[in-house]
Symmetry: C2
Subunit: 238 residues, 2 copies
Amino acid sequence: MAGKAAEPQVIWARPERTGRGPRPAFTRADIAAAAVRIADAGGLEAVSMRHVAAELGCGTMSLYNYVPRKEDLYELMIDAVGAEHEIREPSGDWRADMIRNAEETRAIMHRHTWVPRLMSGVYGFSPNTLRYLEHCLACLDPLDVPYGVKTELVALLNGVVTTYTANEIATAERTRSMPWSEEEENAVRIAYLGSQVATGAYPRLAAAFMEDSGPIDLEAVFRRALERVLDAFDPDRG
Amino acid sequence: MAGKAAEPQVIWARPERTGRGPRPAFTRADIAAAAVRIADAGGLEAVSMRHVAAELGCGTMSLYNYVPRKEDLYELMIDAVGAEHEIREPSGDWRADMIRNAEETRAIMHRHTWVPRLMSGVYGFSPNTLRYLEHCLACLDPLDVPYGVKTELVALLNGVVTTYTANEIATAERTRSMPWSEEEENAVRIAYLGSQVATGAYPRLAAAFMEDSGPIDLEAVFRRALERVLDAFDPDRG
DNA sequence: CCTAGTTACGTACAGCGTACGTAGTGCGCT
DNA sequence: AGCGCACTACGTACGCTGTACGTAACTAGG
């Protein structure tokens, strides 16, 4: 009735090549790599259909043969960085393996600081995501709980990794984009926080800031959070 | 040297009114409320400076007197929904109180589905955010650990709430924006997942899907995740 | 009272996603 | 073998975005 309609919305469900017509000049991997390159160099806002097309050396609208909507380009990008996970044989120590996975995810996100911003609103079942998920479950083979619990562990851990790393990146980028130095920015921030705290409305926040006002080791904070989550699933926790 | 420069980057650090010149026609709260109204009705992509100005009944560029950059408008929006947290006297049971806080955050996000997308990349020290943080610490008064641990608990819990709710919203919106029904979408999705799983490359994912393929209770999944996180901090855990 | 700093806002510009139309190409079917 | 159709390629154009800049009106501090 309504003309076209009813193609698969999810890019992974549509075949990369149908066999009819001229050979496509690029693969999805080519396109994803170009977009990733641009995002790494100029941030997520530099990723426009025009820029990606230019990077590939083709007309802007040609891109739409491969990527029906820009949102799908994002999906390709997430999948592309997912390929950077180094899948290795599980060691038998599920805690150590999961920590390694989490640290690797964090490293990937620090390498591609736009990833966390894309994580909300992405389908989540790209080939490399599935590959990584399967790998996590393999690492959890020694843990004797139902698969339902294992998937909850993976979801929880990934969530923590994403939010923690997103925060690290956000604060880092904020200070980077400043025309002034990091010290100045921190001074302004502390001054503001101090002025708020000084009103007496936030006594516990004030106490918390008093407790440790030195420079914080983000890596250590991250590690502690991981251990906490794993503790919650460890039957042998002491 | 370079002309202007060096105004506070963070909107909360600049005063709402300086005392000089004509009385401003709106407050920050007015602007935030207008933006929230638009986002609730038309999604985050409907929030443009022009739309917000029109909603307020003023010229587009007048908005820039109040909000130097669009990013700051987002900041106002996050603060505005933060006001929806109902701060009530802690009960003495920190687990119950924190679960209540988390459920309330989840409810707010479901009421304003654009919140999770804005959480990455926002400053995080708006007045209402500080208020909420202070409240969480107050709820944790009965827990006898250093403030450092308490703030880590709050951060971890908020992270979990955000990612879980973001996922719920993402899948819900995906099926809503379909021209076809939810059943059809699910059929396509299951068909795709099934085709992937059928390759034999993901045996554990296959097993996990076999284990429970019925409709899942998202609320219960969320609750379990909360309990897990709280377990990790509970000295009295059995 | 004067004047500097503010509010208000119209205009303008560069860039965005993408609908649409047209031309060329090569696989699959008859 | 060759027809036809589905595909690739891409230029043009439209409506929208954020916001720099200039101008006019206004008001509080010195």
